[in-house]
């Protein structure tokens, strides 16, 4: 069964993730020019469809969000609320009306190279479409240049993937060093040995969970150092960023360890646990946006991502490592992870009390 379920899940999840065009990527539009041409340009962007599966399934590439000025749009980009800013400068309409070349500026969240590439492509198409229309109406060579600016330093795909791998190593440590070792201890009567000692029940649970957290943090930290060495992570974080990054890893470890502990203690047998733990791992990993941005997912996968703790962990890590974010942008992720962790600790405690 495991030989079927695992590859099948990978096929479906990876297939839909990589096969999906980026849709509804949030993009901020700042208009300093409000004339006919700029309206037309925004209109093209709004109606432009991105198609997949041979043009059967077409959807908007972006969700356009109006921003009052460049500064506030940049704040949104920095918080990860939008993937790009389209800036239509003052004089855009004036220039086109007088048959002068002009430009739009695009600021890209290039820490997500897949979304950035998709947005760039679509924008260039829109600009060409508008230029062509103008040229048909009046035979000139007037054009719109799309000036791209990476908002952050260049981020390679391997760097995009790296935060997911850190979370993945926490998950592996939780499945093996957490769940399986607890099942072994249970089978061998070691946990019963704790029970006949004067140790309090909560002391046993805290001990078991933090043993797991130690292992998970050790693997994640080791992987982080390895990634630094091979250039898979080139952090732009300051000291606060590092502290927050390790806090993210800690919170994720505690939550995931508690989840797998609850699951292992409640499992009927070691086989039942092992056969199901790895499919759970595959599902959480591929729907977390670790390998492909969640904007490219079909809706049902996006729904999974919304309740997937790994998605929030990956998001927080990307904000902290590559965007040099402080506390504010990751508060939302922290809030979800905290709630998740509290629920999972409660479940683990309950499972322990029932099993012991």
């Amino acid at each position: 069964m495991a030989a079927i379920i695992g590859p099948f899940l990978s096929l479906v999840l990876l297939g839909y993730a990589f096969g999906g065009a980026i849709t509804y990527a949030p993009v901020a539009v700042v208009r300093e020019s409000n004339g006919q041409f700029s309206s037309e340009f925004v209109g093209i962007l709004r109606t432009q469809l991105s198609c997949q599966y041979g043009g059967v399934n077409c959807q908007n590439s972006y969700t356009l969000i109006d921003a009052s000025d460049l500064a506030s749009a940049q704040v949104m980009l920095r918080k990860g609320l939008v993937k790009a800013i389209i800036f239509i400068p003052l004089g855009f309409d004036q220039a086109l009306a007088t048959h002068t070349n002009t430009q739009v500026n695009v600021y890209l969240d290039n820490t997500d190279p897949i979304s950035a590439a998709a947005i760039t492509g679509e924008l260039t198409q829109a600009a060409q479409q508008l230029s062509t229309r103008i040229q048909i109406n009046s035979p000139t060579t007037t054009g719109i240049n799309v000036i791209l600016a990476d908002f952050y330093r260049n981020v390679f795909y391997i760097e995009f993937m790296a935060p997911g791998s850190l979370v993945q190593s926490i998950m592996f440590a939780s499945i093996i060093g957490g769940g399986i070792s607890i099942l072994e201890d249970k089978e061998r009567g070691i946990i019963e040995g704790y029970l006949v000692s004067p140790l309090k029940q909560y002391e046993i649970i805290v001990g078991v969970l933090f043993a797991g957290v130690t292992k998970a943090m050790f693997s994640a930290t080791t992987l982080f150092v390895l990634s630094l060495m091979i250039g898979a992570i080139r952090p732009s974080a300051g000291i606060v960023g590092y502290v927050l990054m390790f806090f993210t890893l800690f919170l994720t470890s505690l939550g995931v360890i508690s989840m797998m502990t609850a699951y292992a203690v409640g499992a009927t047998s070691r086989n039942a646990y092992t056969f199901t733990a790895f499919p759970i791992n595959i599902t959480l990993y591929f729907t977390s946006g670790a390998v492909y941005p969640t904007n490219g997912f079909p809706t049902w996968m996006q729904e999974i991502a919304k309740v997937n703790p790994e998605a929030y962990a990956v998001d927080a890590l990307r904000l902290l490592i590559y965007k040099g974010a402080g506390l504010t942008p990751v508060l939302g992720d922290f809030a979800f992870l905290t709630v998740f962790t509290v629920i999972m600790i409660a479940l683990a405690t309950l499972a322990f009390k029932r099993a012991l």
Binding site: R188, G189, E192
Partner: protein, 312 residues
């Protein structure tokens, strides 16, 4: 005198199944054996006494504390040696003992002294810093037994303490167990289904079957309860029904059990019985191939009380 363990109609039911059925038992400062086949209820009884399981009915005092009301006190005062090896193989002998002492809150200085002393006592001082993973079965068992002594318990519960050990290692473990009782005055409660273990080690035994105690006493007393006779084992090539019935009726015979072509006959006096058995069998058309006379063992006692042998 204070009793180490006293149970009051102690009962445990799992659904419809009654594993332990209103047991009243008193254990003094002694080496006490709970003897029974698998599923007889001896392990469930031990698990209740060590506070892992809650009784369904009744209660017990262990080392002066009630298992229902003061399980914490019970745990502080007892040591438990599980059947399976529960040492941490990735830690040294010394660390295994030390960390256990910490669970019991033994103060550091005292703990270190105890650990050194216990390791010396079981002859593992020179291996103290070695990882337990490389130890032999007998060494691990000895280490595990002394691990349960770091906090100086009043009662030590042991589940099948010599399962899987070779005869030499078993003898060494038994020797240490006897010494624990004699030298340190610790009561031992041993669950086992090994007759030689029960006979060689225990002052008193309770034979447990179907959740009840079917016999209680010292190994000698129990044997005498089976009306103090001898066992004649005869192997026959033919066993006619008439021969069997004649034997059962004979006044010198107490009990006859037949298995394939072998008869196990409990008799009052073995030396006198042998020629008469041969005579009786011959007269009824049977043919004896071999005949042996031996003393009653606990195995026979067990068979007598439970109707099955321990190996079953």
């Amino acid at each position: 005198m204070d009793l180490a363990v006293q149970t009051f109609a102690l009962t445990k039911r799992f659904g419809d199944f009654t594993a332990v059925d209103h047991i009243d038992l008193e254990i003094k400062s002694e080496v006490f054996g709970l003897l029974g086949p698998n599923g007889a209820g001896k392990t469930t009884l031990a698990r209740m006494l060590t506070t892992i399981l809650q009784p369904t009915e009744g209660t017990a005092t262990v080392a002066g504390a009630d298992i229902r009301d003061e399980p914490g006190k019970v745990r502080e005062r007892i040591g438990v040696v599980a059947q399976a090896m529960t040492l941490d193989v990735e830690l040294s002998a010394w660390e295994n003992l030390d960390i256990y002492g910490k669970y019991y809150g033994v103060p550091t200085k005292l703990r270190h002294e105890r650990v050194e002393e216990l390791l010396r006592w079981v002859g593992l001082s020179d291996r103290a810093r070695d990882l337990v993973g490389g130890f032999s079965g007998g060494m691990k068992r000895r280490l595990e037994i002394v691990r349960s002594l770091v906090h100086q318990p009043q009662i030590l519960f042991l589940d099948e303490p010599t399962t899987g050990l070779d005869p030499q290692a078993r003898a060494a473990v038994w020797e240490h167990l006897v010494a624990i009782h004699k030298d340190q005055g610790i009561t031992l409660v041993i669950t086992t289904h090994y007759m030689d273990e029960a006979e060689g080690l225990c002052d008193r035994l309770a034979i447990v079957d179907h959740g009840k105690i079917v016999a209680l006493g010292s190994p000698g007393e129990l044997k005498r309860k089976v009306s103090g006779g001898d066992i004649v084992e005869a192997e026959l090539s033919i066993i006619p029904e008439t021969a069997l019935r004649a034997l059962e009726k004979a006044d010198f015979v107490l009990e006859v059990k037949k298995k394939d072509n072998a008869l196990t006959i409990l008799v009052k006096n073995g030396a006198e019985a042998v020629p008469r058995i041969v005579e009786l069998v011959d007269a009824n058309g049977g043919k004896i191939k071999a005949i042996t006379l031996r003393e009653l063992t606990l195995d026979d006692v067990f068979l007598h009380f439970t109707g099955r042998s321990l190996g079953d």
